[in-house]
């Protein structure tokens, strides 16, 4: 019996095929982000927090879980979490609790992590982020992702596996460092969105100073939960993608995982609820060796820490020591301008385009550089932004430098732009001067202009003489011919000739 030969069954199959290949898959992306709190000491102990210190040099008795030691909550970490919660529009819980999450691992000395499983410090927030459509900077859309919660918890140490000598070395410097776990609801649908949301979060954390949020140094760690489903149907089985250490890789990892899941499902396979690691070299996700399947973390309340009580101006007890309390209102009043507000202000104050404000904020120190130049020049901000974004930024990118490392200071650029504005030099000459300034030889724009004879020729007679020489030097036929057809077309050609005959520039 040949089923495929049956006309009826055949048509069902075709319908089926049709349905699946035409009904779009909807990807669903949620994120869990661990941000290391920027603080001098750890979450529950006095040991210092420092990146790349000698192994096990920043370990207190508590961090090593010596018997009898107790946790003492670091006030700074609480304030950082409150700040972050407020910036992410969360409601701050006036009373939050700490719990123990148990699992055995070499870099978890106590056998449990102190976290906030039941009542976290902040809940129900949102984060707005923008991204451009089809990679066009001029077409930006703003989206919002809900923040489920922010919880305070301890970081673990680091295990270094030496396969050759089959041994594991443990560094506890990181053990006990304060983390904020930011849980984002699955409101995103592609790698671009996930990347834009994380980038915005990163900017917010850096603006607040609550985390340095440098992904390469592990201060910001992103795990992505990815699933796909058909519209109107329940969410599909999700996978968790770990080991993502840059924002660019986040977009890649998420998109790869979405594609993989769709392909898997379309070819009749199933998705396993598993943890996958992103391999940045291969650009794909691979299953991680899971720790013996499903873990039961045996959560229980941390008995050594009383509930964390926060106050606002109204509930603040009168006779309480200021050092003993955290006042939410006090922190709220002192929040710095967040990136979205900063961008709006830049657009309003300087008349630049919204997409330019994004670029300014995306590069650390670029806004400050821009504003410094504005202060020192008569040039309109709208024109200055072009120099900042097209010249300075592309040079920086080309040489992989940060704004701080730029060989051209805001003072030198302002000086250059002032000369351009005063028409001492042409914009072509200005670009040449900029290229010279970039060499960082300590010359001023004026010195370069003089040296290279880049001053504008402002004497009428001189100009006429030069122009005449250019025209004389041309093959008359061609020019006349072109002039007859279209006088406008001939002009750029003549200008080009004139330019190349001069060391300096014309307007």
């Amino acid at each position: 019996l040949c089923l495929w030969g049956h006309p009826y069954l055949n048509s069902i199959f075709l319908l089926f095929f049709f349905f699946f290949s035409l009904t779009p898959w909807v990807p669903v992306v949620g994120l869990e982000i661990h941000a290391q709190i920027s603080s001098n000491s750890k979450l529950f102990s006095g040991s210092q927090v420092q990146f790349a210190a000698p192994p096990n040099s920043l370990v207190s008795f508590f961090d090593a879980s010596l018997p009898g030691t107790l946790p003492v909550l670091n006030r700074r970490c609480v304030e950082a979490a409150v700040m972050t919660g407020l910036a992410l529009n969360c409601s701050i819980n006036k009373k939050s609790l700490f719990d123990r999450k148990h699992y055995f691992y070499a870099d978890l000395p106590a056998g449990y992590q102190i976290t906030q499983q039941r009542v976290p410090i902040a809940v129900n927030g949102s984060l707005s982020y923008s991204l451009c459509i089809d990679n066009k900077m001029s077409q930006m859309v703003t989206k919002t992702v809900r923040i489920k919660q922010i919880q305070l918890e301890q970081d673990s140490g680091k295990s270094l596996h030496d396969d050759v000598r089959s041994q594991t070395l443990v560094d506890l410097n990181r053990a006990g460092v304060g983390l904020m776990e930011v849980v984002m609801e699955p409101d995103m649908c592609c790698g671009e969105e996930a990347a834009a949301a994380v980038r915005e979060l990163q900017l917010i954390l850096q603006t607040l100073g609550s985390s340095q949020a440098v992904m390469a140094e592990g201060q910001l760690r992103v795990d992505a939960n990815v699933s796909v489903h058909h519209p109107g149907e329940p969410y599909g089985v999700r996978t968790e993608v770990k080991n993502i250490n840059s924002i660019r890789f986040l977009a890649k990892a998420v998109d790869y995982e979405i594609e993989r899941q769709i392909e898997e499902l379309e070819s009749g396979g199933t998705i396993l609820n598993e943890t996958r690691a992103f391999d940045s070299k291969l650009g794909c996700t691979v299953p991680m060796r899971d720790k013996e399947g499903k873990q039961d973390y045996r959560f229980m309340p941390e008995p050594n820490l009383p509930p964390l009580i926060l106050y606002n101006a109204r509930s603040l007890p009168a006779n309480m020591n200021h050092q003993q309390v955290v006042n939410i209102d006090w922190i709220h009043e002192r929040l710095p301008d967040l990136p979205s507000v900063k961008r709006a202000k830049l657009v309003e104050q300087y008349g630049i385009l919204p997409e330019h404000s994004f670029t300014l904020l995306n590069e650390a120190g670029l806004t400050e550089f821009f504003e410094d130049v504005i202060k020192q020049t008569q040039m309109k901000p709208k024109k200055v932004i072009g120099w900042i974004l097209n010249d300075l930024l592309s040079y920086l990118k080309q040489h992989s430098l940060t704004v701080k490392e730029s060989p051209v200071s805001s003072f030198l650029l302002a000086d250059l732009l002032n000369r351009l504005e005063k028409k001492e030099i042409s914009s072509t000459a200005a670009k040449q001067v900029f290229a010279e300034l970039w060499k960082g030889e300590g010359k001023t724009p004026l010195e370069i202009v003089k040296e290279k004879k880049l001053q504008l020729i402002q004497d009428q007679e001189d100009l006429e003489r030069i122009c005449q020489a250019v025209i004389d030097g041309q093959e008359n036929e061609v020019i006349i011919c072109q002039c007859r057809k279209d006088g406008v077309l001939a002009l750029p050609h003549l200008l080009g000739r004139t330019r190349s005959s001069l060391p300096g520039s014309l307007v």
Partner: protein, 528 residues
Amino acid sequence: LLGRASLLVSAALKEGRVAPTELCQRCLSLIKSTKFLNAYITVAEETALKQAEESEKRYKRGQPLGVLDGIPIAVKDNFNTAGIETTCASNMLKGYISPYNATVVQKLLDQGAVLLGKTNLDEFAMGSGSTDGVFGPVRNPWSYSRQYKEKSVPKSHSEDKDSNWVITGGSSGGSAAAVSSFTCFAALGSDTGGSTRNPAAHCGVVGLKPTYGLISRHGLIPLVNSMDVPGILTRCVDDAAVVLGSLAGHDPKDSTTIQDNFKPFELSDLTDVSKLSIGIPKEYHAPGLSSEILALWSKAADLFKNAGAKVIEVSLPHTRYSIVCYHVLCTAEVASNMARFDGLEYGHRSDMNKSTESMYAATRREGFNDVVRGRILSGNYFLLKQNYENYFIKAQKVRRLIANDFVKVFGSGVDILLTPTTLSDAIPYMEFIKEDNRTRSAQDDILTQAANMAGLPAINVPTALSERGLPVGLQFIGRSFQEKQLLTVAKWFEKQVKFPMIQLDEVKRHDHGVFQHQKSASFLEHRT
């Protein structure tokens, strides 16, 4: 002299009638001659003598650090002591030398106390007999007292004479035995379900469990963090007040200590008890309570009544659920607290090195005894996701009910509760080990653990000798942070009952001339 209260000895030190080094030497040699009690795991002879010398210098300069300067003390071996082994009577920590002092130890040292050594206990303080540690059981000094020897008749001549010795109770049995046998003037214990008061009752010493949060737990290796309190064992109530005063107060290293300043107090002699309201909780008339203790308890109530106090029967209805509730909460926290002993950072590590997991398993199997492993297993069971609600959450709710019972009773005007501390006097070791640790702990903690559930201060006051010549104590439970009232009443009671002094040949030999033959006027004999 060794049998005296530390306050009296302190006066003698001050007046130069005895030197700290001499006092320390005497205690050390008494420790040696009472080694068979197995009260000490570690004797820190060298550092003790050094501390005594320092103390002596201070006295000579006329600048002692306080009443505790030069006073020999002992500390239960579950408190961290820098430079002196801290074992918890477990293979897991055998040889472990802590780099820091527990806050309570530091405070005692800061006040000039001389630390003689670390006392024996049940492994990780899990037990009620001081019989389940790797260093063997502690023997109750009263087993060797004239009082006991006279009254206990060996069952048969063929039986080993030595088999009659009785347990100290526990888990702070080493500390209780040390204070009781005069090898030190005060000792630290820990009290999670009665571990200070129970051995204090069996060894005829004062055992104080202060209010939870009054004394720092930093450096105390935890059993149940939410119930553990450092306990104080002394010869008399006044001494307990002195030690309490030196230990109490906020510790920045323990977030569960209260912020309020604690003012040390001296106990006045209560002359009038007529304003007192003493509550007798009927639920403490528990199954298994010996008739002897029951009689003693009601005589004590009569004593208050006759002195003009109001004595009323009260009810703590949830007391009977306390044991089950305690079992769940205790094992859950034990499972969690013991997770750190994995052989990586400190303590025992097994030679098994096939994998990290097999090393963990072997280390924990070799390092912990059956009792500890049993509690870890049941605790982890209660914490499993599917059991958490039914066990842990329920136990927490019951705990709240138990605590509320006390709130209600104290709210009704009762000042102090009077109860027995133990169901009977100490039983011989051979009899004790017929039941397993779990059964024994459940029985023995029954009268003491509710105070831990509620975090209340409670004290055992030695009251009389039983028919077998062994100590029997009664317990007073007070309001939270009302230690002064509790101890004042306890002191009044102590004065009335005139508990007899232990008569030990070893002590006589070491302290002849000074040892006082107090009339063996027990409270029972007095009144009947």
